[in-house]
């Protein structure tokens, strides 16, 4: 019997089917359930009720939700920016170092191996007001007159969690940026040198445009991760002091585990997902823009 041949595209779809089924099972169905629950009053004490958009409206008007949204956006912006500020020069340096580059690249990867929750604890000890090494150094060199309670003040606590989070993301961003940098031909820089361009001009007109793809991809992933992972905040400040580092992820956690209001927790999750989608859309727009 002659075997019927199928087209490449059909064959590709057939091979993608198992992955698609898994995606539907692990992502699609839970997402639909989540959205469904967000329209319910679901607090285990009273019968489940359909509320329509009441949960969303409640959250929109709720001061705690708005404050935690502001904190979330601050955390996202701070963590992403700091990650990039540290990763770009690191990647740039690694791309130019030849001797010992393998060893250096390995060292750069170390923070990535540290779980975020452990990072929070480590930085918590370093920021400690009484015994922290940072206070010791800053007071010794005369930068501060006395110990500073970094985690005890809302503004410095936010900076502390941003540092604890960004520190673990720098290696990943560095690798992606490095890949982008190494794909740029050296002759372009040679030509720029001949034309008398300085380092900032080379970065602006050659490096960033040509490495845009990997950099934006790295920023996108870093951004989305900063929304969804609250490990460093949980271990460092637990959202304090006085909810100064209380982000939407913590609010979600509280609605599920402390207040036992699953409907509102689901609504918080949906808001978070929509914000992530919006940010991803912005990145993808710039990524695809010629």
């Amino acid at each position: 019997m002659k075997m019927q041949s199928i087209s490449d595209s059909k064959f590709g779809m057939l091979l993608s089917l198992p992955g698609l089924i898994l995606l539907v099972l692990w992502v699609g169905i839970p997402l639909i359930i989540l959205i469904g629950v967000s329209f319910l009053k679901f607090d285990v004490l009273q019968p489940i009720q359909f509320l329509g958009f009441d949960n969303y409206i409640y959250l929109f008007k709720d001061r705690v939700f708005r404050d935690s949204l502001f904190n979330t956006l601050t955390f996202f912006a701070g963590s992403t920016l700091l990650t990039f500020i540290l990763a770009y020069p690191t990647a740039w340096s690694l791309s130019r170092i030849r001797k010992g580059s393998t060893t250096l690249r390995t060292f750069v990867m170390f923070p990535w191996a540290v779980p975020l929750i452990v990072s929070g604890f480590i930085w918590g000890w370093m920021f400690n007001a009484a015994y922290g090494v940072l206070n010791h150094v800053f007071v010794s060199i005369g930068l501060f007159e006395s110990n500073v309670n970094f985690i005890g003040q809302s503004n410095t606590a936010m900076l502390a969690v941003i540092i604890a989070d960004a520190w673990t993301r720098v290696p990943f961003m560095t690798i992606l940026t490095l890949a982008g940098l190494e794909a740029i031909s050296g002759t372009l820089y040679e030509s720029a040198d001949i034309d008398g361009a300085d380092i900032f001009q080379k970065t602006r007109y050659i490096t960033l445009p040509l490495a845009k793809g990997p950099i934006l991809t790295g920023l996108l992933i870093t951004s989305v991760f900063s929304f969804r992972t609250i490990d460093a905040i949980f271990s460092l400040t637990k959202g304090g002091p006085a909810r100064g580092t209380y982000v939407l992820g913590m609010l979600n956690l509280d609605y599920i585990y402390n207040y036992i209001e699953f409907g509102r927790a689901a609504a918080v999750s949906v808001y978070l997902a929509l914000i992530c989608l919006l940010i991803a859309a912005v990145y993808i727009y710039f990524l695809l823009k010629e």
């Binding site: 004490l45 007001a129 009484a130 005890g152 304090g240 002091p241 956690l253 509280d254």
Partner: protein
Amino acid sequence: MTKRLSIVFLALVVMLAFTMGLAAEGQKEAQDEQNAIDLINWDAPKPAVERLTGDKYVLPEGWDAATEGVDEIFYFNSGGMGGDPATARNIELFEEMTGITVKWAEVSSEILFQKTLNVLVSKDKSVHGMSLDSGPYQLEQIIGAGWAEPMPFWTDEVKAAYPDSIVPTLTGDDGKGYATVDTMRAYVFYYRPSWLEAAGVEKVPETWMEVREAAKKCNDWAKENLGQDYYGIVFPAKSYNLLHMLQPGIYSQGARVIQDGAPNYNTPEGRNSWEYWTGLVRDGIAPEAVLGWTWNDYQNVFSRGKSAMMLGFTTWVNVCADPEKAPAMQEDVFGEPAEGPIGKGDWAVIQPPKWDASEPDSNRSAFIDFDAFMVNPFADPAQKAAMLLFSEFRMSKQAMANELILEGNEAFYPGTYKDPKVQEQIMWAEPRSKSVATTVMESFPPGAMKANDVLIEYFGRAAIGEIDPLEALEKAQSEIDGIYQ
């Protein structure tokens, strides 16, 4: 065609057999459930109240039939077992009595409720018992959700033998008991005699007004003579532990928090207490770091010699008396060995303070904190029966004596204190028993955790000077009122 029909017929028969088998299994399970716990006669060989309150706990009749086939039971322990020597000893005793091994997971109090909730929502059978470390704030919701197994040993006679300030919290609207007390802690006031003397405090403070004055002197002296990380007084302001400071401030004025079924902190007494505790931080008498301290942190700060005073658990007498756990307590503030009032180091305890001199001594009141213990209603029947026995044993006089002596927790069964053998082994028996006698226990309605979080947030903002304290309290109370509307 005939072959296909045969295949279809065979498939239908198999499906029918499978379905009937499942139904039969379910019926058998339901029957087992009814039979296992019902096999226990809680009032035999003696009434439950006598089995519990005698010098030695007596297992109820039928316990062996009910737990047939059960080799081990498993529960979530609040915190590490290293800090629970009484629990460890009680487990040994239970294992000797029943031959059933008790296994546990040490769960940090920060995630205990989360893990418990996971078990209950997923109807996980593998965890048979759980502790709730914020019993007063969580129990009503858990019981209301049908997430706790009724405990048949809570007869009317048993209820009458246990504190009537706590038993209603463990009881559902149907009158059944759904939890026992895992561990119970009253509060006493700790101080360092040498520190007070060095700072020029002439009299041990007995009112909160005197405490503030003394703490300021101790703080000022310490900053000059000991270092920047020594404090006049410490307390926890993270998580619900803050309430255990605010509430005594209110109770010491003869008032209560729960009014018309909801918490109200914006009363004259509430405002006094609020201003008091925020003021300690604002005026630098207590460090800002308290905003990040839980019940364990601030008491460790005291037992490591960094604070002159604290309102702490009675449990901490055992910690302070232990030279290994609290070496700093064995010396005075000048670093010289010190025996102190009872020969256990430079520290002492008194009953919690009253608000000021105008209040009667009966207002020397603090909060009583307890971890509740409940049985997973979704566990297998025989395992539930075994866990019920374990729960019952842990509230017996025999087990409570171990809690008092080995761990410094208070005894859920009040009669334990009257035992002369127990009395001679407890440190600071008088202030502790007085504290238990005047303690206040309020049960908080569902929504309490959310209300607590609002209060804690505004407390922090007021304490660091971001907002005026009374304005913060008004805003907090307004949001709390919104939760209970």
